[in-house]
């Protein structure tokens, strides 16, 4: 800063030109407009859900099974209890399958495979799978486990389809989290004289846990909302069923069936079910976020 500059000169050097200000305003306006545009459908969905779904909510809505008496107006059509429970059961089983396997694959990719050609191939295919439409998974299970074996629909087959859906998501997010763990941590543990597997189980995984839980919850949320795979695998039934070997109801399928019904009450029930599903997923997301905030890495 030369001594010959007066305070006035300095001000002009640092002043923002009017042209800059204009551009700034235009850019801001544009981004704001895009945001609002994107929010509109979201808001509309929420609005419709609430308006049409809330009216169906009642205690009996949550505690009774659908009765299947949908043609005669005035008859009791029942609630969605079996759908809720069915979703919970199938998604739980799917998670039980997908999560350990997914985390296992992620651990292998990060700790052992690293940048070998095989690991990179695996990563490639996992990426591909994340983009595969969910109906494909349903069809795959259908062909292999239903047509191929000549057996019928079952809850666990639905779970399998869902787990295939969840797997790539779990692997991806777990791998990202594991990568975030500083190598220094693994180094210190190794330098203490711990075998590698011990380092992974006792140091790496516990440290990665909060972040991985987030990823897992998101995968679950996605699985809970998929209809297509369940159509070909778990089919549909009215009763609450704790036997995963038989047909099982689920929220997406329930909605699918109800929405095309001519009876208004049934359609309303569909909306109520949709709202329920959305709320369930919302809850899961909130839990994921709370856990993420408490974790140090995610």
């Amino acid at each position: 800063m030369s001594a010959r500059e007066t305070p006035g000169d300095l001000l002009t050097r640092f002043d923002v030109s009017p042209a800059r200000r204009r551009k700034d305003k235009i850019a801001r306006g544009g981004i704001l407009a895009a945001t609002i545009l994107a929010l509109i459908p979201l808001v509309l969905i929420v609005y419709y859900l609430l308006r049409k779904g809330l009216s169906s909510w009642s205690v009996s809505f949550f505690t009774t099974d659908p009765t299947g008496n949908t043609f005669f107006g005035g008859s009791n059509i029942g609630g969605i209890k079996s759908a809720i429970l069915g979703t919970i059961e199938m998604v739980a089983l799917a998670s039980a399958i997908a999560v350990p396997i997914g985390i296992g694959v992620a651990v292998w990719l990060v700790e052992y495979g690293r940048s070998s050609w095989f690991a990179n191939t695996v990563r490639f295919f996992v990426d591909v799978l994340t983009g595969v439409p969910s109906i494909i998974f349903g069809l795959f299970i259908y062909i292999v486990l239903i047509v191929g074996t000549g057996s019928s629909y079952a809850g666990y087959k639905g779970s399998l389809a869902l787990s295939l859906l969840m797997l790539p998501v779990v692997i991806r997010s777990a791998e990202v989290i594991l990568r975030l763990i500083p190598g220094a941590l693994r180094e210190s543990a190794l330098a203490l004289g711990a075998p590698r597997w011990r380092v992974i189980f006792s140091i790496v995984l516990p440290t990665a846990l909060p972040g991985m839980v987030t990823g897992v919850l998101l995968a679950i949320a996605r699985a809970a909302g998929e209809t297509a795979p369940l159509l070909f695998t778990a089919a549909y039934t009215h009763q609450t069923n704790f036997n995963l070997g038989g047909f099982m109801n689920s929220l997406p399928v329930q909605i699918y069936n109800d929405v095309t019904s001519p009876t208004t009450a049934v359609v309303n029930r569909a909306w109520g079910a949709a709202l329920t599903l959305v709320v369930m997923i919302l809850l899961l997301n909130l839990i994921a976020r709370l856990i993420a905030r408490r974790s140090r890495l995610a």
């Binding site: 543990a189 330098a191 004289g193």
Partner: protein, 299 residues
């Protein structure tokens, strides 16, 4: 300073001076040689002796690139040896070969022998995990395990090795005392390790290494991330620790090497240039390259 009224100062007069004044000298003490370095803490007072380490023809590679080009070096038991040299001279790589951490990097390998008191740690029959228990390591950036409390951090080495778990409390306390941390944390052992200050975290890492009772501790620039006071505390700690372990310290800070080490080795371009008592290296190095490096003409 100026001579007073008398023409001769009494100090100048010695009995034979007037005649055989060829021998007359001012009476300043004249050591023939600079005094030798004080020896390292005698092993007679060591609570448990450390072991010596000897490198024979050590070479280290990252893929095809050779970073350490044939080093023969002795680290004496219960002494602190400092390794100095400009960036990229291979000192960290060399030290990582000692506890076989170098090979954990994909594509990295080492050749040659590393003898822990006559046992070659690179011998095919040797369990690398056992080597790392005997040769501990403290890294540049303090890194306590984030999910663990102070107590768990120190105990982690013992738990991970699934051996010698008896009296965990006693061992943890001994380790924390050895690292000079006990007084500061004894009342909050269950608090997270990451909540300590930088200097304390590094001492925690030292305690963690001490808990598994190693014979050698390797330190890779342990103080470079710390403030001066924390650095001094750790240097004092090193001076005490050498009674029970052999210490090898890699450092960029020559003053630190000068303060802390019994012997200093200078490396350049993957090779060992000179090694000797620290006092010699810093007052009268033999190799001109050493002279240039320590006087700051390059590096």
């Amino acid at each position: 300073m100026t001579s007073d009224g008398s023409t001769l100062r009494t100090a100048d007069v010695e009995p034979d001076d007037l005649l055989e004044s060829g021998q007359a000298r001012s009476p300043e003490p004249r050591p023939a040689r600079p005094p030798a370095t004080a020896p390292a803490a005698s092993s007679a007072t060591a609570t448990k002796p450390g072991l010596s380490v000897r490198l024979e023809g050590l070479r280290a590679f990252y893929g095809e690139s050779e970073q350490v080009k044939g080093v023969d070096l002795d680290f004496r038991a219960n002494e602190v040896t400092a390794i100095i040299g400009p960036s990229g001279c291979g000192k960290s790589t060399m030290v990582r070969c000692i506890n076989r951490m170098h090979e954990e990097i994909p594509g990295a390998r080492a050749e040659g022998r590393v003898l822990l008191d006559e046992l070659d740690v690179y011998d095919s029959s040797v369990d690398v995990v056992a080597v790392r228990r005997a040769i501990g390591m403290v890294f540049q950036k303090p890194n306590p395990f984030p999910t663990m409390s102070i107590f768990d951090n120190v105990a982690s080495g013992l738990r991970l090795s699934s051996r010698g778990r008896g009296d965990l409390h006693g061992k943890v306390e001994a380790a924390l005392r050895g690292a000079g941390l006990w007084d500061e944390v004894s009342d909050r052992l269950q608090e997270p390790g990451a909540g300590l200050s930088g200097g304390q975290q590094q001492r925690l890492c030292i305690a963690r290494s001490l808990a598994v009772n190693p014979e050698v501790i390797l330190m890779d620039e342990p103080c470079s991330a710390l403030d001066p006071i924390a650095t001094l505390k750790i240097e004092e700690l090193i001076a005490e620790l050498k009674q029970s372990v052999t210490i090898v310290i890699v450092t960029h800070n020559m003053q630190q090497a000068a303060r802390v080490a019994d012997r200093t080795a200078f490396m350049l371009g993957g090779k060992l240039v000179e090694v000797g008592p620290t006092q010699e290296i810093f007052t009268n190095p033999t190799d001109p390259r050493t002279e240039e490096y320590v006087t700051g003409k390059f590096g």
